[in-house]
């Protein structure tokens, strides 16, 4: 009976957690973030971005890394636990790291699209880094939707970026390899328009529902069974709690950005076609000439590898490479293998290209 009791107990905990998240509007309350593992200072706050600075104890590299996090969910997944932190891994390699902590948009921010996020917020954040560090260029690493923002930013402001790393970038959306993509195809643009008319933004619960719909069995049952089966493993329950907290930390997507993302990027695939306009300028990846490392999780079931793979062929860079790793979408940030091998490899790639002229 212990099996059923335990699993039922975990399931009820999960249900209570989800209800709590719905009650507080998912992750829209920043104070609900767990205590940071790695200390940081906020060096800039403006628009909808707060820029965190993590200092390396033994800094080796003059050029800092700007880590562009996704606009979905809170960024504490990148600094989850001691020994399970992307930030910690990069600091250990001697890089100073700046992380974009996107401030959840309110109804008044529904007008914000890619132009506001890239040409204002991200550009201002990078300018703040250039001023603070007295450098002309930064290394840019983008994760998931942050990778798309980084791509657009580098296309439009190439002079500020020394090296670009995209991790799980949703670039070419022409394929329909993930089943959920088929379902999204059936939701017409008038429905998308209605979402923003009714709610202003795409609400956090809706973003969360999309993630849940990708693997309903996992979210409804299997993860709780997994907790039961791994209860003996050291630190598993603690990690599970943190991870669940992150899973229910969805934030709303600004209305205009949501419309552009679903219409221009997903349905019309304008980014891969080199026709996506941001602030009146075409964000064509051919304009990217800096070295590019395109990191892909082979088992990614949120951004299919086939969506990221064509990127390296489309950029204008001479130095470009795909790095595939046997992990999933979230595994690239939290799996022990990725933190032990993939992120150090990314650091080494940046270090090799750190000097001007390389």
């Amino acid at each position: 009976m212990s099996l059923f009791n335990d699993i039922a107990g975990h399931w009820i905990d999960g249900a209570v957690r989800t209800l709590g998240a719905i009650g507080r509007g998912f992750g829209s309350d920043i104070s609900a973030d767990p205590a940071p593992v790695t200390p940081y200072d906020v060096i800039y706050k403006g628009g909808k971005v707060s820029l965190r600075h993590y200092r390396a104890r033994n800094r080796i590299h003059a050029t800092p890394i700007v880590l562009v996090y996704a606009l979905i969910k809170r960024p504490f997944i990148l600094d989850l636990q001691p020994g399970k932190s992307v930030i910690e891994t990069l600091l250990k390699q001697g890089f100073d790291v700046y992380l974009t902590d996107w401030i959840p948009p309110t109804r008044e921010d529904a007008w914000r699209g890619f132009d506001a996020y890239v040409n204002q917020d991200l550009d201002n954040a990078i300018r703040a880094v250039q001023t603070a560090e007295n450098v002309a260029q930064v290394h840019l690493i983008g994760y998931c939707l942050g990778a798309l923002l980084s791509l657009i930013y580098t296309s439009l402001h190439q002079q500020n970026v020394r090296n670009l790393i995209t991790v799980a970038a949703p670039f070419d959306m022409s394929g329909r390899d993930l089943p959920i993509y088929h379902l999204m195809d059936r939701i017409d643009e008038s429905a998308i328009e209605l979402i923003t008319r009714i709610h202003g933004n795409c609400p956090a619960w809706m973003v969360n529902s999309m993630f849940t719909a990708m693997s309903p069995t996992h979210h409804a049952l299997d993860k709780f069974v997994g907790l039961y089966r791994n209860a003996e493993r050291d630190g598993y329950a603690e990690m599970f709690d943190l991870f669940e907290r992150w899973m229910s930390s969805d934030v709303p997507l600004a209305g205009r950005l949501f419309t552009e993302l679903t219409g221009d990027i997903f349905k019309r695939n304008l980014m891969a076609k080199g026709e996506f306009k941001v602030g009146g300028r075409v964000a064509d990846v051919k304009q990217i000439t800096c070295p590019l490392l395109n990191v892909i999780g082979e088992m990614d079931d949120v951004v299919h590898p086939k969506s990221s793979l064509p990127l390296s062929e489309k950029v204008g860079s001479a130095d470009r490479r795909n790095l595939t790793f046997p992990t999933g979408h979230i595994g690239v940030a939290v799996s022990a293998g990725a933190l032990k091998k993939m992120w150090p490899e990314m650091g080494a790639w940046l270090a090799d290209r750190g000097q001007v002229g390389n």
């Binding site: 089943p179 959920i180 088929h182 379902l183 195809d185 059936r186 939701i187 017409d188 008038s190 429905a191 209605l194 979402i195 008319r197 009714i198 693997s215 309903p216 069995t217 996992h218 049952l221 299997d222 069974v225 089966r229």
Partner: protein, 194 residues
């Protein structure tokens, strides 16, 4: 040409194998030898894993199904339209009904909240101004006292110098400086003069 097995059929095969072969065999072994509990668990989890995979494949098949997609897509659109109509009707009905029975509307409450927020902001700003003014005033008083003391000392030196130049004894000249009253001993009466 061999036909490739679909993943759902593959998992179905594993489920059948686990529930019809592995589980009964493990249960029988446990009954006869009484010590092979692990094998039963293993077979059970194998069946469970196959079941989860089948369920995943089924949901994937559902999403890729055109008819389901059409229904779901139209359903979402319809639900949103109904919500919009509902919002509009509610706004129209309650917008007129509410004030008629003397209750404030949502926008009035919001305006009131904004006013209260603005007022508390004003109060905080005033408090900050008073705090700054008080600090500045005490700084100014200190500064003035310091400059007065300096002027008194300067006057004293000037008087001494002029007296010296006239050949007078410096100690005899009063420069206007009044020394502060000596502090009383903290111990008071208990202190003993040695």
């Amino acid at each position: 040409m061999s036909k490739q097995k679909s993943p759902i059929m593959d998992d179905l095969g594993k489920l059948i194998e686990a529930t019809w072969i592995d589980l009964p065999a493990a249960a029988a072994r446990r009954l006869t030898t009484g010590d092979d509990k692990g094998a039963v668990h293993e077979a059970g989890w194998k069946a469970y894993d196959a079941l989860v995979r089948i369920s995943n494949e089924a949901s994937n098949a559902l999403y890729t199904n055109r008819a389901f997609g059409e229904v779901a897509g139209r359903g979402i659109g319809l639900a949103l339209r109904m919500r919009r109509v509902g919002d509009a009707v509610a706004a129209a009905v309650f917008g007129n009904l509410w004030p008629a029975i003397g209750l404030p509307t949502g926008s009035e409450i919001q305006a009131l909240r904004n006013d209260v927020r603005a007022l508390s902001g004003d109060v905080e700003a005033l408090r900050e101004e008073v705090r700054t003014a008080s600090v500045q005033a005490s700084q100014r008083i200190e500064e003035r006292e310091r400059s007065e003391d300096r002027a008194t000392i300067d006057r004293g030196y000037a008087a001494v110098r002029s007296a010296e130049s006239q050949g007078a004894t410096p100690a005899m000249v009063w420069n206007g400086f009044k020394p502060a009253a000596p502090r009383k001993s903290r111990r008071g009466k208990n202190s003993v003069a040695l």
